[in-house]
């Protein structure tokens, strides 16, 4: 990284080992670090407030009562004799894995346990919008435009975030992409936003000899027409060059990141992997939208091993888990993932071994600065008088409360009145203050953290004893999943140039 891009790098370069060791106070033991000190791979601040956002929409009304099963609720079992996920203490192989003593994950979702236990995955239950229509198309529209029952809104909430925030870079080419054949509502109206069905294959057909002339002709033809074609054409041309620079075919995910169903060459796993490659390429894309269809389980829901919904949940879980290992841990990029659906499903099962349209469901957030490792909910209960209209899981957390906090805290955008019009959100604490480098957990990253850091690195037990309320993971300053010499460099940089 050249010095003009790396604030403080010159200072860092000049900081002698001796100075650092003095600050750390442990001369003899630090000497062994000399071999890993000099290389500077990056100077990124991992507590950045501009995450990339990945929005995943589960289309069809995903059943939150299966995704995150309330196994302590008796009504769950009496209403769903065939479909309820068995409790953790059952001997049934389809039993739930406990999350927090009340909710559990069905076997299909267990690939997410690693992210959950790392504190990066948050479930928000009994979440949704307050409209009673139970129409897919209305409900999706409401969730995606960020307001219920307003036919004057034509753009998506995420598009409005992009419209009210500056691009990552001054000459940004592609700010947002929908990995699909059409642009869904969430991103409609967004600047420098197009659908790209396959990131790895986005170029002009025909003889390469005439490509430049043909591209020039196309550029001229679309230069002066009205919207939306003018922008679509301009973005298409620019995006062809942008994506061509990225070697999607040879992209190797971080170790341990196994995306599902890659052999198909398309589908959710392939799209998640492409998204990871695009994000790591750091070309200025700020928002990515991926759809996962098939959640409208009116009949033969089959949430158990070998069944339809099990397969669908497992695809989702494996895709998210792979992305977690690949991007959130492996490269330490700041990405926040939002997973939502238009509504949940009926508490009672129907006559077709399925469930009809419901109301409240589950949202998921994933990211290194998400306050995860728990199920956040104001659980309304499943007794008849506690159900919405006597039949559905109620909504006690408005979906905009969750999204708004992500927008402010993770995307650095305060324009909530534009993004979520006619609504004042209440933050629910779904994001964390960044702990990276704050080893004495005094809320600051400065020289006072150097000694605790050395201790965390060399003697974890002593560190935890000395700092019982602090999070030793803050020593993983470069967020690569390891606490090692590279974190020394990263911490030093943070201290020198905050």
């Amino acid at each position: 990284m050249s010095s003009h891009e790396c604030r403080g790098c010159n200072d860092y370069m000049q900081l002698s080992r001796r100075q650092f060791i003095q600050a750390a106070g442990g001369a003899a033991t630090i000497a062994g670090l000399s071999s890993v000190l000099p290389r500077v791979a990056f100077a990124q601040d991992f507590c950045s407030s501009r995450d990339v956002i990945l929005s995943i929409f589960l289309r069809g009304g995903a059943d939150g009562l299966t995704l995150c099963a309330p196994y302590l609720e008796p009504a769950y079992y009496t209403s769903r004799p065939s479909l309820a996920v068995p409790p953790p203490d059952s001997s049934d192989p389809n039993r739930a894995t406990d999350l927090d003593g009340f909710f559990g994950l069905p076997p299909a979702m267990t690939p997410l346990l690693s992210a959950y236990q790392a504190g990066h995955l948050l479930f928000v239950h009994a979440c949704g919008n307050d409209d009673a229509s139970r129409s897919h198309f209305d409900a999706m529209r409401f969730m995606e435009v960020g307001k219920v029952n307003d036919s004057t809104i034509f753009d998506g909430w995420l598009a409005r975030h992009l419209l009210t925030s500056p691009p990552f870079t001054v000459n940004s080419i592609l700010r947002a992409v929908q990995i699909d054949y059409g642009l869904h509502q969430t991103l409609q109206g967004g600047p420098l936003t197009i659908p790209v069905p396959n990131l790895a294959s986005f170029g002009l057909a025909g003889w390469s000899g005439t490509v430049p002339a043909r591209r020039e002709a196309l550029a001229d033809l679309y230069a002066a027409v009205g919207e939306p074609l003018r922008s679509a054409a301009a973005s298409t041309q620019a995006t062809m060059d942008l994506l061509h620079q990225i070697d999607f075919a040879n992209y190797a995910p971080a170790e341990g990141a196994i995306y599902p169903n890659l052999a198909q060459g398309f589908g959710f796993g392939y799209q998640m992997k492409s998204a990871a490659a695009l994000i790591k390429a750091d070309v200025g894309v700020e928002a990515i939208a991926i759809d996962l269809e098939g959640w409208d389980t009116h009949g033969n829901q089959q949430p158990f091993i070998g069944g339809y919904m099990h397969g669908l949940m497992n695809t989702l879980a494996q895709g998210l888990a792979a992305f977690h290992a690949d991007v959130l841990i492996g490269s330490g990029r700041n990405v926040t993932i939002v997973v939502m659906t238009e509504f949940g499903r009926r508490l009672d099962e129907n006559g077709s071994d399925g469930t009809d349209h419901g109301h409240g469901s589950t949202m998921m957030l994933m990211g290194r600065d998400i306050a995860g490792g728990r199920v956040l909910t104001q659980w309304p209960g499943l007794a008849p008088e506690q159900l919405f209209q006597g039949i559905d899981l109620a909504v006690t957390t408005d979906w905009r409360d969750i999204l708004a906090e992500v927008v402010v805290k993770r995307l650095g955008n305060n324009n909530l009145s534009v993004i979520f019009p006619d609504y004042v959100p209440t933050f629910r604490g779904v994001t964390t203050a960044c702990a990276s480098g704050d080893l004495n957990c005094d809320g600051q990253v400065n020289a006072a953290d150097a000694a605790p850091f050395a201790q965390a690195l060399l003697d974890p037990v002593a560190y935890q004893t000395a700092h019982p309320t602090c999070n030793r993971n803050g020593a993983d300053v470069n967020a690569d999943g390891f606490i090692d010499g590279r974190d020394v460099q990263a911490l030093t940089h943070k201290i020198i140039s905050p």
Partner: protein, 497 residues
């Protein structure tokens, strides 16, 4: 400017903008941008070039893509005459297309024959082939346009349960014969179709444990529309009426996968639907009563009229046009031809903002304009898939979207298909130089020819000059002229209709 302001005034865009009220200006601009922008684009094209022709406009609206033949026919029959001509598809000799489609046997199979096939992929493939081939080659163009509309309106998930086996029957026996008939007859035919029943889970809906899926979409998507005034309780009651409407198991000889009313599974109690009491003991007729109520309902008339106007006229049709078509529905018992007469004979063609061709329409219109000869449609399926609209592959019951902002971003596959088509590089679909260029040897002659076959002579000057420029200096090789053809098919104007 006056042409433009007239255009704006008469389309209801001003109403649209008024309704938006006092919004932050950027939002106002953005929300109006889609409609206004496209309007401006069209306005600019018309003001500079060939004067507006209602007849040419009509050809673009009631065919799957303008051709010289259709334009000449329209000019000789006149606007009203051309409409009437296309409202009588069965009077046309369409034997060539029919013969070709019949080469694919499953297109004509009965349920019992389809049930016997171990794998359904051939059935779905042949249906997709038939849809594409007919759209390109059939003389019955308005029929193809309205069949496409009804297939979206009554969309099924062709991958569900046994739908891949019998989805072709919904298309052949419920939709196609009733597409230009009456809406109540079409609705009734679709309601008892096994694919529809399976796609929306009514086949497993039983007394005491009804499944709401079909009932909800019947009200929301097929008849009244989401704001049509029905309640959750109505959904439940309609579902109760439809219990027992199912299909035979595929193993039943001769009857496999065909419609079955299973009286034993029917909820025989009294129901109340939209305020109508349906007495106990009605059996199969309960659902038929519901269909009759819905078929005659003013809410249905309004919803269907609105959708037809959006399909044929504009994304945001004037309320007066919708009302007129709805009135025709109510006074004719839902006669679809009469509704189309009202629509096209009372609308103002000059005031219609253009609509964006969806990918299917765009690719079909490219093949029609170039006189493409499809010897084997199968390789085309992949191209339609890459463009985002392989027929019959949309899973949710609302059908492929017909929204500008959904499709406008995906231009690259259109440009690429245009190129491969024009370069004669699509396997088993050929475009001949003779048809494309009619002996032209200069850039001017070639562009005039392309203007005629792709735009009916209405290619905007700016675009025409730029594509001509690509072929200079004279005389262009055939290779160069074919590349220019691809550019002509890729122009902004060609994407609209």
């Amino acid at each position: 400017m006056s042409l433009l302001s007239n255009l704006i005034r008469s389309t209801g865009v001003m109403d649209e903008l008024e309704r938006l009220g006092p919004l932050p200006s950027r939002r106002r601009l953005l929300t109006a941008g889609g409609v206004l922008g496209s309007l401006l684009a069209a306005g600019r094209a018309r003001a500079e070039d060939l004067p507006f022709s209602a007849t040419r406009w009509l050809v673009g609206r009631i065919t799957q893509g303008m051709t010289e033949t259709e334009l000449n026919l329209a000019n000789s029959l006149g606007y009203a005459g051309y409409l009437e001509y296309h409202l009588n598809p069965m009077a046309m000799n369409d034997n060539a297309t029919t013969f070709f489609v019949n080469l694919y046997p499953t297109v004509n199979y009965q349920s019992w024959q389809l049930s016997q096939l171990p794998q359904p992929s051939q059935i779905v493939r042949e249906l997709q082939i038939a849809t594409i081939y007919r759209a390109v080659n059939s003389k019955r163009q308005l029929l193809e346009r309205i069949v496409e509309f009804w297939c979206d309106h009554f969309n099924i998930d062709i991958t569900k349960t046994y739908c891949p086996w019998v989805g072709t029957i919904l298309n052949r026996e419920a939709i196609r014969p009733n597409a230009l008939g009456t809406f109540p007859a079409l609705l009734a035919a679709v309601a008892r179709d096994p694919s529809m029943l399976m796609s929306l889970d009514n086949d497993t809906s039983v007394s005491g444990n009804q499944n709401e899926n079909y009932a909800r979409e019947l009200l929301e998507l097929h008849t009244l529309g989401v704001n049509g005034g029905y309640t959750q309780q109505d959904v439940v009651e309609v579902a109760r009426c439809f219990t027992g409407w199912t299909r035979y198991d595929y193993t039943v000889p001769n009857l496999g996968l065909s419609f079955r009313f299973n009286a034993a599974k029917h909820d025989n109690g009294q129901k109340v639907v939209l305020g109508n009491i349906i007495p106990a003991g009605g059996g199969q007729s309960d659902a038929e009563t519901v269909l009759a109520i819905l078929g005659a309902h003013p809410g249905t008339a309004q919803f269907i009229a609105s959708k037809l106007c959006k399909w044929f006229y504009s994304y945001s049709p004037p309320a007066s046009l919708v009302s007129a078509v709805a009135s025709t529905y109510l006074s004719t018992g839902g006669d679809i031809k009469e509704m189309l007469r009202t629509l096209f004979n009372t609308c103002n063609p000059a005031a219609a903002p253009p609509k964006l061709k969806r990918p299917f329409h765009a690719l079909v219109s490219m093949m029609r304009a170039t006189g493409a000869n499809i010897a084997d449609p199968q390789p085309l399926l992949n191209h339609f898939s890459l463009a985002g609209q392989l027929p019959h592959t949309w899973a949710p019951p609302d059908g492929f979207p017909d929204k500008l902002n959904h499709w406008a971003g995906l231009l690259l596959p259109r440009w690429n298909f245009a190129h491969l088509l024009a370069m004669d590089a699509i396997q088993y679909t050929s475009t001949s130089a003779a048809t494309l260029f009619a002996g032209a040897t200069t850039a001017q002659a070639a562009i005039d020819r392309l203007d005629s076959i792709c735009f009916g002579g209405a290619m905007p000057t700016v675009e025409k000059n730029r594509v001509k420029q690509y072929m200079l200096p004279d005389s262009p090789t055939e290779f160069r002229m074919r590349e220019a053809t691809a550019l002509a098919l890729s122009t902004p104007t060609f994407q609209w209709y």
